[in-house]
């Protein structure tokens, strides 16, 4: 399928683990998530289970940030007029 609106040129995506990614976006996301997760883990008070909880929260933050700045590489649409 053609996609003219996307800022990446066509056929730039590779498949990793059953879905398509853009290499630069992937590296960006790996860095963001690793920094937020490990960062939160290390910054947490050294009093178990706090580091783990902080780390999990960090992971979620990294995930949300990545989701906001990276666009999914999927064209999603509903097929209309084919209701049973």
């Amino acid at each position: 399928m053609e996609n003219k609106s996307d800022h990446h040129s066509q056929n730039e995506y590779i498949e990793v683990w059953e879905d398509l990614v853009h290499i630069k976006d992937l590296i960006l996301s790996l860095i963001i998530c690793t920094v937020t997760t490990l960062g939160a883990y290390l910054l947490a008070p050294n009093d178990p289970p706090k580091p783990l909880i902080f780390g999990l929260i960090g992971a979620v933050i990294g995930f949300v940030v990545s989701s906001i700045i990276i666009k999914p590489k999927r064209n999603f649409r509903y097929l209309e007029g084919e209701e049973e």
């Binding site: 399928m1 053609e2 996609n3 996307d6 066509q10 056929n11 730039e12 995506y13 590779i14 498949e15 990793v16 683990w17 059953e18 879905d19 398509l20 990614v21 853009h22 290499i23 976006d25 992937l26 960006l28 996301s29 790996l30 963001i32 998530c33 690793t34 937020t36 997760t37 490990l38 883990y41 178990p48 289970p49 580091p51 783990l52 909880i53 780390g55 999990l56 960090g58 992971a59 979620v60 990294g62 995930f63 990545s66 989701s67 990276i70 666009k71 999914p72 590489k73 999927r74 064209n75 999603f76 649409r77 509903y78 097929l79 209309e80 084919e82 209701e83 049973e84």
Partner: protein, 451 residues
């Protein structure tokens, strides 16, 4: 006797577990261990009542297993490692324009798997309990036997068989190095992060290859993935899994669920692939074959997960199954709260186990099965539109890095990367997760035979 407050807490925990893991289950590529183990660990360490944690955990696995097949059916993207074997069959149904049917069949298979697994696990656990001393003694040998058996079942059986010993040496070699270098105390064994390293192996290998420009140039490139869904009418009332499946499908699903319980100590992924293919190999019609395969595979994964958690917990108190040692690891060992001498096995009575399991599984089925049947499309649409695959990989990668660091500090990040790259290579050569996990469990004993 149990009081009402505790029961209310169990119900609350089960509802939260079901909702949370309904969402997580749909997200593509979420590994069971990676999403269940850390959260359970946090709950255990936070000091919740053991019985409440068990209810939460059971609800979470049932919900996760119900929903992780949804993206498979709709887009051929596995929602978890366990649903990967179903992709092929789901794609056949999708090609014939029946992704909705896929979801219904899979979810119904899950429900049957759960219904069979809960009582059977409780029963089997009671039968095994007297043997627990014996089993504990020969656990390593059982795991090695499992690795050899699964290796012989794969297509590349000689490569798989040959990989067992070197892979065990790699894992145990790293552990011995950590002990010698005093990175890890002698009474502590690095496990979780190696387990995750194996799971994330194929991805890490791919990422490592991206570092080479030559490989990068030759990789197949794609445009945007096009996903189109037909709008389907809403079903009225509460769906009945026994009406969605045909009699034959119920039969095969029940059979595979029973086998899933009996082989609770084997790798669920390996058993799913093996039994799913075996039980359907004689059906000619591709649509019927695919429907039978996905319903029975889903029943089996559910049954294997529940039995793999419950039987070792109730009967033995040691994590003697891949599910117990992976996603359920925190129920057995989460110092200082749970240890091998003081965990759910020792703290809960048989009644406690039954109550927690029934509450957890009934709530998860009620909430998740209902949501799955009614809103599968809407949830998928949301995930496909707004959740980039990069973020999923990033989340997982981040968690693995954290757990690697937690297990043995900064050096273990390198250790986990090595395990992951080797595991990824083996995986590509046809050595499946099952063989690798079994090897991981058998490694300490296997290597001790040589040194």
């Amino acid at each position: 006797m149990m009081d009402m407050v505790l029961i209310a807490e169990m119900i609350g925990a089960s509802v939260i577990g079901a909702i949370l893991y309904t969402i997580i289950g749909i997200a593509p590529g979420t590994d069971e261990t990676a999403v269940l183990a850390p959260v359970t660990l946090v709950l255990v360490l936070s000091g919740f009542e053991p019985i409440v944690i068990l209810a939460f955990f059971i609800s979470a696995i049932v919900a996760k297993k119900l929903t992780d097949s949804i993206p498979v059916a709709i887009a051929g993207i596995p929602g978890g490692v366990m649903s990967a074997p179903m992709v092929e069959h789901a794609m056949i149904l999708k090609k014939h324009g029946m992704p909705e049917l896929s979801i219904r069949k899979m979810a119904s298979g899950s429900v049957i798997g759960t219904i069979i697994a809960v009582p059977m696990s409780l029963l089997l656990a009671n039968l095994i309990a007297p043997l627990s001393g014996y089993i504990t003694e020969y656990a390593s040998q059982i795991f090695l036997g499992g690795a050899i058996f699964l290796a012989l079942m794969t297509k590349n059986r000689w490569v798989a068989l040959l990989s067992i010993l070197p892979f065990a040496f790699l894992i145990q070699g790293l552990r011995i190095f950590y002990w010698e270098a005093e990175i890890v105390p002698a009474d502590q064994t690095v496990f979780t992060s190696f387990f995750l390293g194996i799971t994330i192996g194929p991805v890490i290998l791919k990422l490592a290859e991206l570092l080479s420009g030559k490989v990068r140039k030759n990789m197949p490139r794609y445009g945007m993935k096009d996903i189109a869904l037909k709008r389907t009418p809403k079903t009225k009332g509460f769906p009945n899994p026994f009406k969605i499946l045909t009699k034959k499908e119920i039969g095969t699903t029940s059979l595979s669920s029973v086998l899933g319980v009996l082989t609770f100590f084997m790798s669920p992924v390996g058993m799913t692939i093996f039994l799913g293919e075996t039980l359907t190999s004689r059906i000619k019609d591709p649509v019927k074959k695919a429907a039978r395969a996905i319903s029975s595979m889903d029943g089996l994964t559910n049954a294997a997960y529940i039995s793999g958690t419950l039987i070792p917990l109730i009967a033995i108190g040691l994590p003697l199954s891949p599910t117990a040692i992976g996603p359920g690891g925190a129920l057995f060992n989460a110092p200082p709260v749970f240890t091998e001498e003081n965990n759910l096995h020792h703290l809960l009575s048989m009644t406690d186990f039954i109550v927690a399991t029934v509450i957890g599984s009934v709530i998860a089925i009620a909430i998740t099965f209902y949501i799955t049947m009614k809103y599968a499309q809407e949830i998928c649409a949301f995930v496909f539109r707004f959740i980039p695959h990069e973020a999923m990989l990033g989340l997982f990668f981040g968690l693995v890095m954290m757990l690697a660091f937690m297990d043995a500090g900064i050096i273990n990040i390198a250790g986990v990367l090595i395990v992951a790259i080797v595991a990824g290579l083996l995986h590509r050569k046809g050595v499946n997760y099952g063989v690798q996990f079994m090897t991981l469990y058998a490694a300490p004993w296997l290597v001790s035979l040589f040194i």
